[in-house]
């Protein structure tokens, strides 16, 4: 199982390491030490000092928090055990076996927005803004904001301008990750209404090695614009592998049994307001689609 993953080392490390070089100033300033392409920990803005925090400092050891944690985790554990008695994944066996489509996310009320995180290039010093709220009739999700592709003035970052919305990692008791098992489906089905901008759908799966934690499967979502809803069906076989925004030479099919999150990213370099309305995110089984993977996985000559 892990053999094909072994060959998935980032072969374009050179390209991604260039991104961090001090551009154009190399003749004036001494070149910065080459940074490792696979960095540990969170993103840290260039020029910001490392936070020297005492490890135990921010942890809250309060009694009420501990009690709430115990209550939450044991409720989850109880649900986990009782779901087993009903059937796989808490559904009766017949329903599980005959399931042809499944709505993973729909938006029915403010609490459904808690399953999503919105971020923009504010984190790296950019000026884009993104907001998530419910739609006009309170049962859609309305993502809007302003895109600005002005790069931050830190001397290193060259590109900027993205807004993204990503589902949170679902967890079961004691903060274990829960993967979505979508292996009985082959198509992603969305109902969206955009404003003509192209978006990108990102699916993050569970990875085997920690250096693959930025591996994300992507495909494009083109919106038509206008007042009508748009049904989009994207087969999972079309998704291609990228790492930190760089498309990889070694392509592998998506692991559908270990899907962690799904996200929508905008970064089309057109400065201005944007909006995307999502009705639901679902998966379905398309019998007409038999393709396993849309890109070459065999060894090519010349190897790229």
């Amino acid at each position: 199982m892990s053999l094909p993953k072994l060959t998935r080392l980032p072969s374009v490390r050179l390209l991604s390491s260039i991104q961090h070089h001090q551009l154009l100033l190399s003749s004036i300033a001494p070149p910065a030490a080459p940074r490792r392409a696979v960095s540990q920990g969170e993103y840290r803005r260039p020029g910001q000092p490392k936070e020297d925090k005492f490890p135990g400092q921010p942890i809250n050891f309060g009694f009420s928090k501990g009690f709430q944690g115990i209550k939450k985790h044991f409720t989850l554990l109880k649900k986990e055990f009782s779901d087993r008695w009903v059937g796989p994944q808490g559904k009766p066996l017949l329903e599980h076996m005959l399931e042809q489509n499944r709505v993973i996310w729909e938006f029915r009320g403010p609490e459904s927005l808690d399953q999503w995180t919105v971020s923009s290039d504010r984190e790296i010093g950019g000026q884009s803004e993104a907001y998530l709220k419910l739609g006009k009739n309170m049962n859609t999700c309305f993502l809007s904001g302003t895109l600005s592709s002005t790069p931050p003035r830190d001397g290193e970052t060259r590109y900027s301008g993205y807004c993204t919305m990503r589902s949170k990692q679902s967890r079961v008791s004691f903060d274990r990750k829960k993967h979505n098992d979508l292996s009985s489906f082959n198509t992603l089905h969305l109902r969206v209404r955009g404003d003509g901008r192209p978006w990108m759908i990102n699916i993050a799966t569970e990875t085997y090695f920690s250096h693959q934690k930025d591996d994300i499967y992507n495909y494009f979502l083109y919106t038509r614009g206008g007042p009508y809803w748009q049904d989009v069906k994207i087969p999972f076989s079309k998704f291609f592998l990228t790492n930190r925004g760089r498309i990889q030479d070694d392509q592998h099919p998506l692991w559908l049994d270990k899907v962690n999150t799904i996200g929508f990213t905008l970064g089309d370099k057109a400065d201005g307001p944007f909006q995307l309305e999502i009705d639901f995110v679902a998966v379905c089984k398309d019998y007409a689609h038999t393709e396993e993977f849309a890109y070459e996985v065999y060894k090519r000559n010349p190897e790229i």
Partner: protein
């Protein structure tokens, strides 16, 4: 041991010889500068120049020979500012492709060794959007041509292994990446140049291969393509975008008013904006069935992006029909005899063959028509509604309410300043006064600002 010493001595001798040669050459260069004969420079053999590339230490005290282009270029230092400066000086008045090429020519002719070409290429890449050549493949190839040929090609496997001339390779990759970002596909000339400069297996060549592999795969992936050059005429642009968002081949575009400028007796110029509307036969049918006691709404402006351009459209829509008024209309089997509109076949489907989703549709009111105009005032939209009455006589009896947002229009005014003077009064003031109405049914809806904000 002895052997090594011999080698060292030999190397020292060679170094001395080389420096002697270089000194001689400097003398020659100095002479050539003083006699201002650039031809001697160009005629120096290439092999003799090779030795200079590996030793940047020599270059420090080197006199600058290339002063024949610009006489005021005496104090050229090695920093990047010089190249930015070069672009600014050569293209002082107009920034076009010709002047960009001229700058590249000036740089190529300035120094045979192309000293500082990496910095020059970085500066040129940065300046390309200013000159409007960022989508020009020929210019990219010319920039690649600035690299000296065959110098950075690794000659043995050890050099190939150890990332030969990394700065230059990064610069080449950077150039290709800018091409990639602007969506330009390299051609055979690029490939030949890359092979000549960096060899067959350098990183820029790999980047080239990746571009050539992935670009054709995603070339036609967009199901709603937008042309690279949008139509200049606003009416054509409106027609294009309306047919794009209508998503109906039968929909008919009507130009209700062409843009024109009139001069009144008092000498004032009155600019009439264009009004382009679209309505499909099914929308006409929906509107004909509309209950005349319920109002229809003109909503907008809603943004639509076509590549980097944002246009705004307005929608005529009705509220969703309340459930008690919904009538299930039976299909008229004789409406289409060739193609049965309703089929009731028992296909012997299994229990698991259910493919419909368990998500109720978002119940929004039906869209009855759409329009685009350059000035989204109520009077202008009134003209559109009265134009729609020709095909939809029911609009004369249905009250029409205007729910116009102010937000996006301010953005639009900030975005294109040349059309800012078109929007004269603010829409809020427009709402206050009653328009001189052609039809008495048209009402102005007074809504608090908060609810305006709630809408998109």
């Amino acid at each position: 041991m002895k052997c090594a010493r011999c080698l060292l001595q030999l190397q020292c001798l060679r170094l001395v010889g080389q420096s002697a040669r270089s000194v001689a050459q400097y003398g020659a260069l100095l002479q050539s500068v003083s006699s201002s004969q650039p031809n001697t420079l160009r005629s120096t053999p290439l092999q003799a120049l090779r030795g200079f590339h590996g030793s940047p230490g020599h270059a420090k005290g080197r006199p600058v020979p290339a002063e024949f282009i610009d006489e005021d270029d005496k104090k050229r230092d090695k920093s990047l500012v010089a190249h930015d400066d070069l672009f600014e000086r050569v293209a002082k008045e107009v920034k076009t492709k010709a002047t960009f090429n001229k700058v590249v020519d000036v740089f190529i002719k300035r120094d045979v060794r192309r000293r500082g070409h990496v910095e020059f290429i970085y500066a040129a890449l940065k300046k390309m959007p200013e000159f409007g050549v960022e989508r020009d493949l020929v210019v990219y190839n010319r920039l690649l041509d600035v690299f000296p040929k065959e110098v950075f090609v690794p000659r043995n496997y050890i050099q190939r292994m150890f990332n030969h001339y990394p700065r230059q390779q990064e610069c080449g990759v950077q150039l290709l990446e800018q091409m990639e970002n602007y969506g330009i596909m390299p051609n055979m000339e690029t490939k030949v140049l890359l092979v000549q400069i960096f060899g067959e297996k350098g990183h820029p060549m790999r980047k080239y291969q990746r571009i050539m592999y992935w670009f054709p795969k995603f070339k036609h992936v967009n199901p709603f393509p937008v042309p690279q050059q949008l139509p200049e005429d606003p009416v054509d642009l409106a027609r294009f975008s309306l047919t794009r968002i209508a998503n109906d081949r039968d929909a008919k575009v009507t130009v209700h008013q062409l843009p024109c400028t009139d001069v009144t007796e008092s000498g004032e110029q009155i600019t009439q904006p264009h009004i382009v509307g679209i309505q499909s036969p099914s929308q006409v049918e929906l509107l004909a069935k509309h209950n005349p006691s319920r109002p229809v709404f003109v909503e907008g402006p809603f943004p639509l992006w076509l590549r980097k351009k944002c246009v705004y459209y307005y929608v005529l829509r009705a509220d969703p029909t309340p459930p008690d008024e919904k009538v299930e209309e039976p299909f008229d089997p004789e409406r289409c005899l060739d193609y049965p509109l309703q089929l009731e076949l028992d296909l012997d489907r299994d229990l698991g063959d259910e493919e419909s989703f368990d998500v109720e549709d978002v119940d929004e009111g039906p869209v009855l028509a759409m329009c685009m105009t350059s000035r989204g005032e109520q009077a202008i939209l009134n003209q559109w509604i009265s134009g729609l009455q020709e095909n939809n006589p029911i609009l004369g009896r249905v009250p029409t309410l205007f729910r116009l947002d102010a937000g996006p229009r301010e953005l639009q005014g900030a975005a294109d300043t040349e059309s800012a003077h078109h929007h004269g009064p603010e829409p809020e003031t427009q709402k206050e006064e009653r328009q001189p109405q052609e039809e008495p049914e048209v009402k102005v809806e007074e809504e608090p600002r908060t609810s305006q904000r709630m809408k998109r």
